[in-house]
Symmetry: C2
Subunit: 553 residues, 2 copies
């Protein structure tokens, strides 16, 4: 079907449906639908993951959106468009694409990163990402999209202007304003202003820093500061940064070169990102790097170690160095580690533990708390104000935030005279046009957990169940019964994660339950379960998970 962008049909609607990212900073997945309610065509913008937490989702590596709604409407999904290459925007592609099997579009650097993920998943022959040039255009059914260069903390961040017969939506992706981003284009504000003059229906916008006043700051200033700081240090210098912040890697490398230090890339992600950047035309002026194995050969004041692990990830390079377990790199008295990064919420204790290990070795630890070594990649309040002044949308839709960020973002947008500002939860379908913005439907929403290599819905409760085990352990009772349901041997009691003092009282309670109740069947199992749980609680003050199974001989 050919759509006339200038002529909506009578029943056409334009709707926006976030399935991820409206309520969390992570697992971004946004859907735009166009057409009459019974025959909408869909495009998806981004398909990311959110990292699991040991406290709340133990054993879960990453989480991603439940896309049941899209699977059910698979025939009408025209494509998946990726704004940029961060994990929270592309990390779920290899996991979820087999359920969608739609074309995927991205600019060259992002496409290169996705290709690697597809190779790891063995999907590279089934899915080839279609490459869109920077500033390029892409039309899928009723959606005529234009990629608009913006600035962020990774190469090739894009906003997408989505033109439909019912109006234009500016989907900002992740962005900030940086007049001197060190790598790639500056934000194409001329294009955004032009769209604003033509009239923008809605702006779907990054909320990450909506609580932070002022501006996020420029990479150019970080570069200057790192230059001075690295110049002031003796001994080995290690710098840890997000590997995908390629501009930062360049700034660090430039400072190293200026002070006569050679770059050693330490950690797989660091080497991989530098390779992907070079393959796609970036880092042309990056100095020749040394292999990890060569680190011991360099004099301390001639080396700069660029390391993965700024978030305290236990298997990353810096954690292994701090633990004294890295095969080639060791740090000690007189050496320094610069954390050119921020603390992502939830990672503080892991990062502090890492810093404590470094401090125990006599290594000086320099962070954004005490030195200017990092700027955020997301817009603070003054930058949001600039965006709304350029784009002048009728509707502001905060995404990419928890509720506290999105609520404050909406409040700010209203202050800035945006006529409508709507805070959505994942799964709420918002009609953008015609008429006033209104939630008209709800799609299933939730999280899928990658648990080991199995993808499970959070509602299956596997991680939640293990959280109960973590709190109070497990007691598994096996009752051996004869054909008449009478105990035929001593019950077998598995106890895991409960203290020794619990063992005997629980055994005795099970015996008492069995002696008092010889009828067998489901009832005896429940009697034993309750007795064991109660006995544990009486002595320990906590109730383990108790399961009872029977075997008949």
């Amino acid at each position: 079907m050919i759509f006339d962008l200038a002529a909506p049909r009578a029943n056409d609607e334009l709707v926006f449906l976030p399935l991820g990212g409206a309520g969390e900073i992570g697992m971004n997945l946004n859907c735009y639908g166009y057409g009459p309610p019974d025959a909408r065509k869909w495009i998806i913008v981004d398909c990311g993951v959110l990292f699991g937490r040991e406290a709340t989702t133990p054993g879960v590596d990453v989480m991603m959106p439940d896309i049941r709604f899209l699977e059910e409407n698979r025939e009408d999904v025209l494509g998946l468009v990726l704004t940029h290459g961060h994990e929270d925007h592309i990390g779920a592609v290899a996991h979820l694409w087999p359920r969608l099997r739609c074309p995927v579009y991205a600019t060259p650097f992002t496409a290169r990163l996705v290709r690697h993920k597809l190779e790891e998943a063995g999907l590279e022959t089934r899915l080839r990402v279609k490459v869109v040039p920077l500033g390029g255009n892409l039309t899928l059914g009723p959606f005529a999209m234009e990629f608009i260069s913006i600035t962020h903390s990774i190469p090739e961040p894009n906003a997408i202007a989505i033109r439909t017969p019912l109006g234009v939506v500016v989907h900002t992706g992740d962005w900030k304003l940086d007049p001197d981003p060190q790598l790639g284009e500056v934000t194409n504000d001329a294009r955004l202003r032009k769209l604003g003059e033509e009239g923008v229906l809605a702006c779907v916008c990054d909320s990450t820093n909506a609580l932070v006043p002022g501006e996020s700051g420029s990479e150019a200033d970080v570069k200057k500061s790192l230059h001075t700081l690295i110049g002031s240090l003796k001994g080995r210098v290690a710098v840890t940064a997000f590997a995908s912040n390629v501009a930062r890697l360049q700034s660090i490398a430039d400072a190293a070169r200026a002070h006569g230090r050679e770059i050693v890339l330490v950690g797989r992600a660091m080497r991989h990102m530098v390779m992907c950047a070079r393959e796609t035309g970036y880092l042309r002026d990056f100095p020749k790097t040394r292999e990890e194995e060569e680190a011991p050969l360099l004099p301390p004041n001639r080396a700069l170690l660029l390391c993965t692990g700024s978030q305290g990830e236990p298997r990353a390079a810096l954690a292994r160095i701090a633990a004294g377990e890295h095969p080639y790199v060791s740090l000690g008295e007189g050496d320094s580690v610069i954390f050119s990064s921020r603390i992502i919420p939830g990672n503080d204790l892991s990062i502090f533990e890492l810093q404590n290990q470094l401090a125990a070795r006599g290594v000086a630890v320099l962070t954004e708390q005490d030195h200017f070594v990092h700027v955020s990649g997301h817009p603070c309040r003054d930058e949001l104000a600039a965006m709304y002044a350029w784009v002048k949308p009728r509707i502001a839709i905060p995404v990419h935030g928890e509720l506290r960020h999105m609520s404050e973002h909406a409040r700010l947008a209203r202050e800035l005279q945006v006529p409508e500002a709507v805070v959505l939860q994942n799964g709420e379908m918002l009609r953008l046009a015609p008429g006033k913005a209104e939630v008209i439907d709800e799609a299933p929403a939730g999280r899928l957990h990658l648990d080991g290599n199995v993808l499970l819905h959070e509602d299956e409760g596997l991680a939640r169940g293990r959280r109960s085990l973590a709190y109070a352990g497990f007691i598994g009772v096996t009752l051996v019964l004869d054909r008449k349901g009478r105990p035929a041997a001593d019950p077998v009691v598995h106890m895991e994660g409960v203290p020794d003092v619990v063992r005997e009282p629980v055994r005795e309670a099970i015996e008492r339950a069995l002696n008092g109740k010889r009828k067998g069947g489901g009832d005896i199992k429940e009697q034993v379960r309750i007795a064991a749980r109660r006995a544990a609680n009486d002595i320990w003050g906590k109730k383990p998970v108790v399961r009872v199974e029977t075997v008949e001989i």
Copy 2:
């Protein structure tokens, strides 16, 4: 034995031994020993807890120091002296005192808080805390102690000057400098200067903010800011703060009164702390408070709700309000919550979740990120510099910090011309005099976990074991064997926290192991265990904890 403070005997040594707090902010327990190596007398300063973490110590409420060393030397422990009433200084008294049974000393407010804990533990008739007046003196054997008033974030914080025949130690406790603390004395800097002039051997000092430049700021300024902020708000206003920060409660109450709002105390700890403060002579000008039950009767702009739960504690008042589950208090559109507190590391995600719930109700959330509503109770670098200038110790011993804080604190002390600065780990016994400061011995050190109501050593591994369950679940296999060790019934398999896809492959692997190996005994159990674990890993990519038990019929 009577000690002549002016005349050390030939073999006398003065030693310092931290058993908690040297390596963590929490569970402070410091020991001072005096005498010849084979006949030292001991005093203990503080006896606190550290809170458990769901990620690293699941199911553990609080942790406290392993005091085996003191138990073994119980006859020579002269007493326990408490500097102030925070949980990380007094929280372990009721748990550990039965192992020590020594006299306990504290100033009136601290003694009142400890009494309550003893009552809860049923120990109030066995232990009566001996009350020392503010600025009072206490001599225990060779230790002549003087309580010196300082400022902190709770009533009655004390430094202790410990005079011994071999020199004076200033043990700062937790402190800051505040010229106008709103409650209690200002820091008695005249006394500290005087001690410095007389000559101080060592200063054992708070490291919490050793990474933070400048000064911590004054409660008086927070009071002014809260006054303005609360005056600007319409609707219901809730303020959450640490209940023990009684000066803050007074500031909030004064602001409420000035703006025609009545105080409702919401949460048990809040009511308890106000009661203890009043009983010991504080809060004489505190307005009459309302009970929780009266909250619904007050017009929104006439109420100020003083709530527990600033750290996102799930059972505290604010969490229940945010969840809409509080029996008397509800907040919504137009209402505000002020977090007059900081985020304690590790609590960020819980606090943000709470704030998200409040945002979802339309409640405005105001925090120290966006308003001046909190100052720290610990000394920043300029304050540490002032202390060292007054006390002029020969030896600086940073405590009350993680390694990163203590290392930086020691670095700062050296910069400030303190001749020796020693970073200790829990259990390291430092000789302070005679001679150069030197680690001369090591005492057992570690953590005790309060797990339910059972006190266990961390090395028993109960929490660690449950952490494994949280990661990959549990499989418990019961083999029913006949007298010859041959399977006599189907094996019973308990599986908890593993996905359904694992069940059949594990069952089949167990069957195969049993069929291949009929000899029985310990060997068959291990064969089955390995087979089950391997089968789970093959299908799931994770290895559950597997236990195998046999029952003979």
